[in-house]
């Protein structure tokens, strides 16, 4: 990802100095001290847990540790694949992700295009500041807001639906509403912030293009359609690839907070299942296996979608 350019530059420059490689290492010894904290951080807290993945194929016994516990092969995986909740977990996880993608992906793009049509001034600034702000609300407060607003007896949204003559459902406990509640609250919180990356791309449009189009009599909508939207395609593609690569890892912290026994049917996803089986019920090996299954599918999805995109356009991750 972009390092290739820099690496190429390094090579052409490094060629005549190859013999002095060791001297360069010694002269720059301080840089190794600079990178040491990050190196040890990733070694311990990222690669350490990866080493621990082996317990997915073992029966973890705390006193024996990661390495000493006895092997059991694919037992935990077979148990998971054959469990009655396997397809429910997959369906819930995938459907929440796809729902979120379908609704949450286009809205920041539309919003960014709309911002871009407005002159810089107090109105634009106000709307931007206000719509960015929910990004900084913590997930606990967000869940608290959802629960309070949708409360069947006192929630304001319940009251509003009553005012317009609708019979409000019990959003918090009705499984049919769980996914919508999750997705729409996510849009409320994230759509404004999501525009920034697109606005950055739009600010790179050559003003000459717009001037030429205006002289040719193009309307605002035509310019939006033929200049601004094509400008955003590379950014959209990259974000879409990343989103698809994380289809199986939905915002589990929020779901965990909104989950209750009554909406479990729709809210039980792989990640919350891993948390409950692993840390609440202490089935360490089994839930590690479930988590590993999740990561592997994510990796496969990311690589696959990147391959597809690379074949059809030049905007791929690598």
């Amino acid at each position: 990802m972009g390092t290739t350019n820099a690496a190429a530059g390094l090579q052409t420059q490094a060629q005549p100095q190859k013999r002095r490689g060791w001297r360069r290492i010694l002269r720059n010894w301080e840089l190794y001290a600079f990178i040491a904290p990050a190196f040890f951080y990733f070694l311990i807290f990222a690669y350490g847990p990866m080493y621990g993945i082996q317990i997915a194929f073992k029966n973890y016994v705390p006193t024996l540790g990661f390495a000493g516990s006895p092997w059991v092969g694919f037992d935990h995986f077979t148990r998971f694949f054959n469990s009655y909740y396997f397809w429910d977990l997959i369906w819930n996880t995938l459907s929440i992700s796809l729902y979120e993608l379908a609704v949450g992906f286009p809205i920041p793009i539309i919003l960014a295009l709309a911002f871009n049509e407005v002159k810089n001034g107090w109105f634009k600034k106000t709307v931007q500041t206000v719509t960015y702000a929910p990004h900084f609300i913590s997930v606990v407060v967000m869940a608290g807001m959802i629960i309070t607003f949708l409360s069947p007896s006192t929630g304001i949204i319940t009251h509003m639906l009553e005012w317009i003559g609708l019979d409000p459902p019990d959003f918090l406990t009705d499984p049919r509403w769980f996914k919508t509640m999750y997705v729409l609250s996510g849009v409320w919180q994230g759509a404004g912030w999501g525009t920034i990356i697109y606005l950055a791309a739009l600010s790179g449009v050559d003003p000459g293009l717009h001037e030429a189009a205006i002289i040719d009599g193009a309307s605002r909508f035509q310019r939006l359609r033929h200049i601004n939207i094509p400008t955003l395609v590379p950014t959209m593609t990259i974000l879409l690839i990343l989103n698809i690569g994380s289809l199986l890892s939905v915002g589990f912290e929020k779901i965990l907070l909104l989950q209750n026994p009554l909406n479990m049917e729709a809210s039980n996803i792989i990640a919350t299942f891993v948390y409950k089986a692993g840390l609440v019920d202490a089935q360490y090996s089994f839930s590690t296996a479930v988590g590993l299954f999740n990561s592997v599918i994510n990796c496969i999805l990311l690589v696959a979608i990147n391959q597809i995109v690379r074949r059809t356009s030049e905007n791929s991750l690598w």
Binding site: F45, V139, V274
Partner: protein, 304 residues
């Protein structure tokens, strides 16, 4: 936008009006819940609960805030959160900034190896349970380190910082410093960092807000209630209480029901107050720091 001198056609004017209307609706949808919570936190619980109060405060009372500030959990949660946020941000900066600088140096032998090693963690990780067991084996359960260290650095932030260094610190500076015999550490501390204050601010904000808002690591790594950060206390007040109030609402006689209802209304009042108290610091400072946050995302997006 460009060329306002040319008169807008009729279609363009319709388009513009629709555009403004769209943004106005977005503004109202985002701003309303926040304004509503502000008003609800100082209105009488009956007016809020019945839906009588829907925008401006009614029957002003500060009971919600009084109850919040009487709650010792809130104070200790605040103190813990400030401790975790300040320490955590300092540790994160100490890991991120030097590493990003080293990775930005073109004459750093092995930087591709380190980049690759760090980038792998973007796409693959050990998962929840192995991470938990590791922290447990390291003896960090119920210590501040369990909150701070496992999430101390993010590869995304390191890349953003590195991009900043590579695009703003001229290479001649490094060469000149080497000719003068200045050490890399001195160059970094006295020249590079002072030139890079914008990115230092962005990183401090990203890490700081992340730590302020996080609850999950405290949920799994802390059992000692005196160490709970604010977000865990909020979870108890906002999420757990609501659930218990709901599931307990089954078969009770009328008088207890109305008492319970009253209790539920006061509980709701406390909730609005506590949401405001917990979110206020960030919402108040955010408009002043907005451009730094935006800058951070922009630098990241240029990298692509």
């Amino acid at each position: 936008m460009t060329s306002q001198a040319i008169k807008e056609s009729r279609g363009d004017r319709v388009f513009l009006v629709a555009n403004y209307l769209y943004l106005l609706i977005a503004l109202v949808i985002v701003a309303y819940p926040v304004l509503y919570m502000l008003s609800a936190s100082i209105s009488s619980p009956q007016a809020v609960g019945s839906g009588e109060m829907w925008l401006f405060p009614k029957g002003i009372t500060f009971e919600g805030y009084e109850r919040v500030f009487q709650d010792n959990r809130i104070w200790s949660g605040y103190a813990n959160t400030i401790l975790y946020t300040v320490t955590g941000t300092l540790v994160s900066l100490a890991v991120t900034l030097p590493a990003a600088y080293a990775l930005a140096r073109r004459d750093f032998v092995g930087r591709n190896f380190f980049m690759a090693m760090f980038m792998v963690t973007m796409f693959f990780g050990g998962g929840l349970v192995p991470s938990y067991l590791l922290v447990k084996d390291l003896g960090m359960i119920d210590t501040i380190w369990a909150i701070i260290l496992p999430g101390a650095a993010s590869i995304y932030n390191i890349i953003v910082t590195r991009t900043f260094f590579m695009s703003t610190i001229p290479r001649e500076l490094e060469e000149a410093a080497q000719i003068d015999g200045a050490s890399t550490t001195r160059l970094f501390l006295t020249v590079v960092l002072p030139l890079s204050m914008p990115i230092v601010a962005v990183m401090a904000l990203f890490y700081g807000v992340g730590q302020w808002n996080s609850y999950f690591s405290a949920l799994i790594y802390l059992n000692d209630e005196t160490k709970y950060p604010l977000q865990i206390i909020l979870r108890q007040i906002l999420v757990l209480q609501e659930m218990s109030a709901q599931t307990g609402g089954g078969m009770i006689d009328a008088s207890t029901a109305s008492a319970l209802n009253n209790k539920a209304e006061i509980a709701a009042l406390v909730k609005y107050a506590v949401i405001i108290v917990a979110t206020l610091p960030i919402i108040v400072i955010y408009p002043f720091l907005q451009r730094y946050f935006v800058q951070g995302v922009m630098i990241g997006s240029v990298k692509g």
